[in-house]
Amino acid sequence: MPDLVPGRNSSTLYNVLVGLNIFFVLTILLLTLYVLISKSSTSIFAVNISLFSNKWSPENGEYGLLIPLVGSLLVSTLAIPIVLIFSIPLVIAIVEYARGSLSRILDVIVDLTAGLPTIIIAYIGLAFLSNWLKNWVEEPLNRFLNFIPLFSCKPLAGQNIGTAALILAISTVPFTTALIREAYKMIPRSLVEALYSIGLYKEEVAYMKISMIKPAIVSAILFSTSRVLTETTIVSLLAGNQFVMSSCIFTPMITIPSLIVNNYGYSTIYPLLDSVLFTSALILYTISLALNFAGLYLNKKLEVIAGG
């Protein structure tokens, strides 16, 4: 939109202000990228270490990032299906079944919980939830389904990769619910009325509406995965932090964020540790960036659908 009346002075000031602020933000971004890349390049180009091995012992110069990477991916793969199983029904319950003020109150509770500091959930997890989950979910799963490799070992402590995934799921359900709910409410009323007019039950209408917003659900999955993958406090307090790779989810394992938290204090002792941790951060950033941009792209596509 062009300036209709030439107010030259104020428009120069505006340009200067915008320019300065863009410069400020770009500086932060470039400095960030510079530190990440320059710090990690030392270990990436180091010839005598293999970053993708499964051996981790800084005292022997072994810095394999495979186990934390697998741990991070495993914890997300476990958590996201649980998140979906609970958040989609919650959206339907809030929008379709709850009426009037109850629906509004539930909306607020979901929003409130979605932004709750994760350290609070991590602490609750450590204080009693992990033991409950061990006694009421993990042990029964092990007892009755131990022919499935995932559940084949007995949970020895409350802190293991399965617990971390469950508690991450608990902390993510409200967030995902809020994302899916916004898309669900965007469906035009006329479409919903058309569905009811052909004599469908409420559950069938809900099913149709959910299938209409599939792109939004996929983008919610991407955003939630990025959130779960980069979450630090819950995994570092609850995943158990052991360099073990196992097909059983009741084993304590380590993830990239908890690797950084647990090892950064020693980074002055071992020569390459600092750089290796930056490399692990760079890997995490790359994955999270890809997930976020894919999610944004899908959201944009959905806007086109809803607008058209």
């Binding site: 009346v5 000031l13 609970f86 919650l90 509770i109 359900v173 406090t233 950084i260 995490l284």
Partner: protein, 281 residues
Amino acid sequence: MVSLRFIKVLAIRLTLAILSIISLAVILLIHVSILVNGLRIALLNGFNLLTGTPPLPTESMPLGGVGPSLVGSLLTSGLAILISTPVSIILGFFLVEHRGSRFVGLVRAAFQSLYGLPTITISLIVYTLLVIPMRTQSLLAGSISLLIVALPMELTYFENVFSSIPLTYKEAGYSIGLGRLGLLTRVVLGISKSGLASALTLTLARVMGETAPVLFTIGNALTSYHTSLFQPSSTITTLIFMLASSPFQVQFDFAWGAVLTLYLVYLFLFTASKLVRGVEL
């Protein structure tokens, strides 16, 4: 005769009911457990919870307070928001007013790249850029970490607020001869002030709850009030992290008090942000 379709619908209805009740129950359990356990510690300590210092491992009762960390939390997130708000106002307006241009797309991509930065990575980076040269963890380093979290978040909120302003208001502004800056200060800010206030409060609430970005940068000063920007401090979130990792039952138990304090501050900011939006035009 009951049709197969009706049985299916009933089965779906039952599944939906069970799953949504479980999710709601877990959500409520979180809030109730914070209040019940937190109040136990709060009643034990009274007003001292807000001003005192955390208990030592040798004490037999979870007596103490979160004073220094509370001050650290308020100062770091306050400073971060103080810097990020003017930047977000100007760039939010810029992104909306020049929508469609390639340069705007570039600036937006820069912001979204900051948004994708894992919070623990922010801690590593600020540690390298500020803590090592300054030779100390500090309130300033903590604020900068939180600024990197707050900027993209607040900008996204502000951009939404600005783009919800009807075009007619902007056209009216331009038609009486206002430039872009005049439009921003005299028309747009006036119309969107409640939306902006709400977004600002929400950002503050979210930023104050962050742990990972400040974990390596703010320091571990749990027992003394430091208000100089260049001295180490702590936040409630790092305090909870420290207490939660403590092997001593007294300290672990006392964390409920810190959890309650953080929860109440968050609840206050969240409510304020909802109430402010209620008075929107």
